[in-house]
């Protein structure tokens, strides 16, 4: 077996090793271990994507057992894209964190533990993206959840702990629901490999309704983890109470990882219509999320809450793909390409936006949006970052958000379900309303006082770079669409063991 074929395993093992190393290493070394791992991981992710583009999707049998007994990793196009997204944003978060968590600051909360937890989260995210096994999804979900809760509560103050606890309970609820679902699914099919399950389920057979209920529960659990309205209740507090690099990672990556698992299960594993009404319900909830999240973002007065609610709204877009399932291959490739594009571009922009928001908060010494007047003059780079990320949130060209909105709208109209396109348009307008409300404050005068730039602020070009990448991401759409077509989600390159 060539080295290239081992990439999925390496992508899980490398951050796991780094996680252990940072735990052992001292304060002076841990950040460099993490940084090195981030670089290596990015290189591995690029290699994975390149290989997927080159040879197509493949399965990696962990330990050589092979499905159905063993656990297989699946390296297909969408997975490669998500791993790459995790790597790029992860690298940026790592660099940002090296400045954010001062080495010499005795009060820096969670100093040291951040790196371990962060590397561990990276491990589990990569695992979540690559796994092809329904139960392994559960394990990865819980690993992501535990590390995410730890990171969210990292500050250790009352607010962070309270948010962390809520996050934890939401995770527990989701974990148990998922486990119950998997149990039911297994009891009906005696199989856990998603690719095999698709074949089994498509043939139908005994215990069909048991499998359907199992899938429904798994989906419900993932909906909770992905914070789709009305299951978003844990997100705003958890994302806004966390330290800035963690907020960025949580908002940009964690919900994307769980979403990807959902995508695998609903589109890749379940035949269209197997759970009647499921897909439409997900679409409706997505549309509700777009509207409700945007309205709440419009009304928030604290900057991080504002950004968090914008995430709640943006997540909604990702669910518009489900009601379109079952349409022709060309329409589905538009729709799937659209949501993958949205996930990637939102990941880039949201991480940039959170970093900029956190920096603004630190410099103005407050998280009150109305006291950030004149930021356009006094902190032009951060304001520009907010503005450019905002363009992505609104889905205006040339951001990737535009590409995703266009593809999804086209796909919706092609299937005759034009109302999803209307929801997308409305969401863009509401996003403009909440983004420009904030930008108007930043552009208004006279300026509020702000603190001089410290080490973290010296990295203000980093979030700008992320926002810029998102701003021109529509030009990556051909690549994203190509990756979307490689693998079982579109059933064009189904990889069966």
């Amino acid at each position: 077996m060539s080295l290239g074929a081992q990439l999925p395993a390496l992508l899980v093992l490398a951050p796991l090793a780094a996680s252990a190393l940072t735990f052992i290493a001292g304060r002076n070394v841990d950040r460099y271990v993490a940084l090195g791992c981030a670089v290596v991981n990015t290189a591995l992710a690029v290699a994975l994507a390149a290989r997927v583009l080159d040879v197509g999707a493949w399965r990696y049998e962990v330990g050589g057992w092979g499905a159905p007994l063993g656990i297989d990793l699946v390296a297909d196009g969408p997975a490669a894209l998500f791993v790459l997204l995790v790597a790029v944003v992860g690298l940026a978060v790592t660099v940002f964190a090296t400045a954010y968590f001062h080495r010499d600051d005795p009060n820096a909360y969670g100093n040291g533990h951040f790196w371990t937890l962060w590397m561990f989260m990276w491990t589990s995210l990569n695992g979540l993206c690559l796994t092809g096994d329904a139960f392994n999804v559960y394990v990865c979900l819980e690993l992501v959840g535990i590390s995410a809760v730890g990171l969210a509560a990292l500050k250790g103050d009352a607010r962070a702990l309270r948010a962390g606890a809520r996050y934890l309970f939401a995770n527990m609820l989701a974990a148990m629901t998922y486990l119950l679902g998997v149990a039911l699914l297994y009891s009906a099919t005696a199989n856990l490999d998603m690719a095999m399950l698709r074949v089994v389920l498509a043939e139908g057979g005994p215990g069909e309704s048991g499998a359907a209920v199992g899938i429904a529960l798994m989906v419900a659990a993932l909906v909770l983890k992905t914070a789709l309205v009305p299951a978003h209740f844990w997100l705003p507090s958890a994302h806004s109470a966390a330290p800035t690099p963690v907020s960025a990672a949580l908002s940009a990556l964690v919900v994307k990882g769980t979403y990807f698992a959902l995508l695998r299960i609903v589109l890749g594993m379940t035949p269209p219509g197997f759970v009647p009404g499921l897909n439409v319900l997900l679409g409706v909830l997505g549309a509700v999320a777009i509207i409700w999240g945007s309205i709440q973002a419009l009304l928030q007065t604290r900057i991080k809450q504002f950004v968090a609610y914008s995430t709640v709204a943006q997540i909604g877009y990702l669910f518009i793909v489900f009601p379109l399932a079952g349409a022709g291959a060309d329409v589905m490739s538009l729709a799937l390409g659209g949501v993958l594009l949205h996930a990637a571009t939102h990941g880039l922009a949201k991480s940039g936006l959170f970093m900029a928001a956190g920096s603004l908060m630190d410099r103005f010494g407050t998280d009150d949006l109305n006291r950030m007047r004149g930021a356009a003059r006094t902190a032009p780079v951060l304001t520009m970052t907010v503005a450019l990320a905002g363009v992505t949130m609104m889905g205006l060209p040339p951001s990737g958000g535009f590409g995703s909105k266009f593809q999804l709208a086209t796909a919706s109209i092609s299937t005759g379900q034009w109302w999803w396109a209307v929801a997308l348009g409305l969401g863009g307008l509401l996003a403009a309303a909440y983004m420009f409300r904030v930008l108007a404050i930043m552009l208004s005068g006279p300026a509020d006082a702000l603190a001089p730039a410290d080490a973290a602020i010296r990295l203000e070009w980093l979030p700008l770079g992320l926002a810029l990448a998102a701003l021109f991401f529509v030009f990556a759409a051909p690549l994203v669409n190509e990756l979307a077509a490689i693998g079982p989600l579109l059933a064009s390159g189904a990889v069966t063991p």
Partner: protein
């Protein structure tokens, strides 16, 4: 590669302006002027080649089978030429106007970005590419509208976005629907929808979605609400953006929509062009009447802009070669005429702090050259021969008759009379006695005066040379001919 320069050069200027910040104003100004001159040079080369039949095309892959494309056809180049030439002139004016203002880097940066976007709109090869640049234009204009940061400016900015982004959303939905229906539809003179004409209901709906999207910037009533308010922006912004780039992007979109997406034949057989024409005609008259009553100079000019833009819209919607050519020519002519007026309004506000007609007494004696230039532009706008406005209005009127729509001719001439009605009182107000505490004949800063004189002179030159090759009229006649089966009117 060269085809991208009209978009890239201003964008590069913008980027360098942002990077320079407030540190080196002289370097920034020089750099912007060089970029503008280079853009003008590029466009001129492209025009010469296009006249010779050589159309350059550039495309970047964007989504599945959609590219972000630009091409140097004559129609687009006309708009692009106007935008870049006036950008250069306006830069000189703005450098004088903004000399002591705050946040200059932001101002000049977004200013250049707007031009980049406007050039993109002009040269875009298909509706989706056009939409991309159109939305960029919306966004880059916003910081300029709210530049002063006052509550009025922020309120105007909010209104602008409400209108523009709603329009943009409709345009997006129209584009998505069109793509779902017909796949990629690159602009083709005479229409790009061969094969899907039978979907009449969908095509009508798409047309209205797109026309509403463009109509916001083209300020077709009742979508014009943002324009008068947006006049709180600094004078150079009102001048270039609200008389030239932004609003013209809207009407230009309508020109592309009818002439090169639907094609005049399909647009009129679907009955959609007629509806648009009715809206445009109503806008012309209503906006002109409202303009009669404005005391605020810039608002009066804004309503005049609303009316004049609908001249263009109506011209295209008539679906006749002469009227379409007149519309395209008027796009260029109106830019020169209206920019003169906004420059003047800016000079009055900046030098004399005069913003209303009722305060204008004595202005003509204090600034005879400025007001003389204004008078030329005003008469040109009202269509007095042999000035530029007459030439395009003549074409528009002839086109109305050609299309068998004599009512449109009446609308045009009535609007001309109303234009005199709202322009002449400005001149009269300036000629009333009044004192501005300075010796007579002292004009504003030469960097603000000369641009005014030059653009006013252009109103005369463009009118006198209207029959010559290379003039906007001749250019427009050549450019729209293919949309009507290649017959040069």
């Amino acid at each position: 590669m060269m085809i991208w320069l009209p978009v890239l050069l201003p964008a590069i200027a913008a980027l360098s302006t942002f990077l320079l910040g407030e540190r080196r104003p002289r370097a920034r100004n020089t750099l912007n002027l060089i970029a503008a001159a280079a853009s003008v040079g590029t466009v001129v080369v492209l025009v010469i080649r296009a006249y010779g039949g050589e159309v350059a095309v550039g495309a970047i892959p964007m989504m599945s089978d959609l590219d972000l494309g630009v091409h140097s056809d004559l129609t687009g180049l006309l708009f692009s030429t106007v935008a870049t030439v006036l950008w250069m002139i306006t830069l000189v004016y703005a450098i004088g106007y903004m000399e002591h203002a705050a946040d200059q880097a932001r101002f000049f940066g977004f200013f250049a970005l707007c031009i980049a976007a406007a050039n993109g709109v002009a040269l875009a090869t298909d509706p989706v590419s056009l939409f991309v640049f159109y939305e960029i234009l919306t966004l880059t204009t916003y910081p300029l509208v709210v530049h002063s940061g006052t509550p009025e400016a922020l309120a105007a900015g909010r209104k602008y976005l409400l209108y523009a982004l709603t329009g943009g959303t409709l345009l997006l939905l129209g584009n998505a629907w069109l793509y779902a229906l017909a796949g990629p539809t690159p602009f083709t003179p005479g229409g790009a929808l061969a094969g899907v004409e039978t979907h009449t209901t969908a095509l009508r709906a798409i047309f209205f979605l797109m026309a509403a999207g463009f109509g916001v910037k083209a300020a077709i009533m009742p979508l014009h609400g943002w324009l008068p308010g947006a006049m709180v922006a600094p004078a150079p912004v009102s001048s270039l953006l609200h008389a030239v780039a932004v609003v013209k992007a809207g009407v230009f979109g309508i020109i592309r929509l009818i002439n090169e997406l639907y094609g005049p034949a399909l647009a009129s057989s679907l009955g959609v062009a007629q509806v648009l024409a009715a809206f445009a005609a109503a806008s012309i008259i209503v906006a002109s009447v409202i303009a009669l009553r404005q005391d605020d100079l810039k608002k009066r000019l804004a309503y005049s802009t609303v009316a004049q833009l609908s001249y263009i819209t109506l011209g295209v919607a008539l679906c006749s070669p002469l009227a379409a050519a007149g519309a395209l020519a008027h796009l260029a002519h109106h830019a020169f005429m209206k920019i003169t007026m906004f420059f003047t309004a800016g000079s009055l506000a900046e030098t004399l702090h005069v913003k209303k007609l009722s305060e204008m007494g004595g202005v003509a004696r204090r600034m005879p050259v400025t007001m003389g230039s204004f008078a030329v532009a005003a008469f040109a706008l009202a269509g007095i021969p042999p000035l530029a406005g007459f030439a395009s209005k003549w074409l528009l009127g002839s086109g109305s008759v050609e299309a068998g729509a004599s009512w449109a001719l009446i609308v045009y001439v009535a609007a001309g009379a109303l234009a005199m009605g709202y322009m002449v009182p400005i001149l009269l107000a300036a000629m009333r006695p009044g004192d501005h505490g300075a010796p007579e004949g002292v004009e504003s800063d030469p960097r603000m005066l000369w641009p005014i004189v030059i653009v006013a002179a252009m109103s005369i030159v463009l009118g006198l040379t209207a029959g010559l090759p290379g003039s906007p009229v001749h250019w427009a006649l050549t450019a729209v001919a293919p949309a009507f089966g290649g017959v040069t009117p």
